[in-house]
Symmetry: C2
Subunit: 233 residues, 2 copies
């Protein structure tokens, strides 16, 4: 971890993040003043599952994975954060230790807002508070959906769903590849399966002309068919 050369202004996040638009000029200035911006590289841990967090993180650039550690240290990824997202608030607001570990998978710039400041914003600004509530309730809906998926879909269907999800959330690079790069193991721990199963299914999708694979980069060729595989309900 090191200090960023240039502190990103909150305005730069404002473009992508619906949250901070609720702040007044004064509030925005205060946040800009107290926030703490740092640069992290792939592999850096922001916080560990079970630790207390002392504020929230706002992603300026890069990608963070959030995972729980299970049997024999096997990871289960529950979500990713990308530029414009905030994380850490679940633990803060529920007044519990972090339920996941946050780890950088693509070099990231993060702004840290101390909890006192964040709580103050929530208490003072009803619109901001409502936006946070909306976000956490939305995430709860996502989590419920994922419980159903893992319980009832097979691995092939879940992998297709995850590919569609990554495509929707991260989009494509100019040359058509998914704008997120995961190891086979990471993909497996998001889908909730073994690395070998992911590999076999990816090459099956490839020979079915649904995707192209170039080492760690994946190009979605036929998003419609992939969505169809995942939509079994």
């Amino acid at each position: 971890m090191r200090k960023l050369d240039e502190i990103p202004s909150c305005e730069s996040c404002l473009k992508e993040n619906f949250l901070f638009k609720h702040l007044t000029k004064d509030e925005n200035d205060t946040v800009s003043y107290v926030k703490n911006c740092n640069f992290f590289v792939r592999g850096d841990i922001i916080y560990h599952e079970g630790n207390r967090v002392s504020g929230i993180y706002c992603v300026n650039k890069g990608i963070i994975k959030h995972f729980k550690t299970g049997i024999d240290g096997k990871e289960q990824i529950v979500r990713f954060s990308k530029p414009g997202d905030i994380f850490g608030f679940r633990s803060l607001l529920s007044d519990e230790p972090a339920c996941t570990t946050a780890k950088v998978i693509e070099d990231a710039g993060l702004c840290f807002i101390p909890s006192e400041q964040f709580i103050k914003l929530i208490n003072d600004n009803a619109a901001f508070s409502m936006a946070i509530m909306k976000m956490s309730c939305h995430e709860l809906g996502d989590a419920n959906q994922y419980i159903l998926d893992i319980a009832q879909k097979n691995v092939r269907e879940r992998l297709a769903e995850i590919l569609a999800l990554l495509h929707k959330n991260f989009g494509e690079t100019p040359d058509g590849y998914l704008n997120i790069s995961l190891t086979r193991e990471e993909l497996a721990s998001f889908v909730g399966t073994a690395t070998e199963s992911v590999i076999r299914l990816l090459s099956e999708f490839k020979s079915d002309k649904l995707i192209e694979i170039n080492r760690r980069k994946i190009k979605i060729i036929d998003i419609q068919k992939i969505k169809k595989i995942s939509d079994v309900y």
Copy 2:
């Protein structure tokens, strides 16, 4: 559904529910005035997955199950509500249709608070708002945990975990039975497995002297061993 003979006072819920203690006398009076109380029997549907909800429900008595419907109409239960709990707020606050169906599994008395009133409380009363936020963030942590469990634990471990959870949340009747009565199918759709698997494992637990079974009633004999089976991490 029919009107309750006697409208339960909010004070009666206050005993069990940490939420409404944050309300002022005036707010409490208003809620008491606008709320709408009804009686439901086992099998009644409060709302369907995909529908909009127009307020929140507070459980005065009885038990509600919340489930999603998946492949071939197979249910996946995601949680239960018991006296003192509120539900419906996820959909309301995220401004999305309900992500689960709410169905009565034990005859219930429910108070309904219209959304305008509920939103007003959240906007006016910071402590109440914070309590709701805390609750939704806590549920999010539970959901994340359950994703890990379904992804990594086997059925035996999950069933043990669910039994321990039901024991903790619903307690025992005077004669030592679990204070919630589920069909084998409901148990299966909470654990995320087939009915037959639940039956086989229950009788295994029974011959291991961990539980006793009397038709639909289950008595936990050795909660420590059951917890040990579920704690594989």
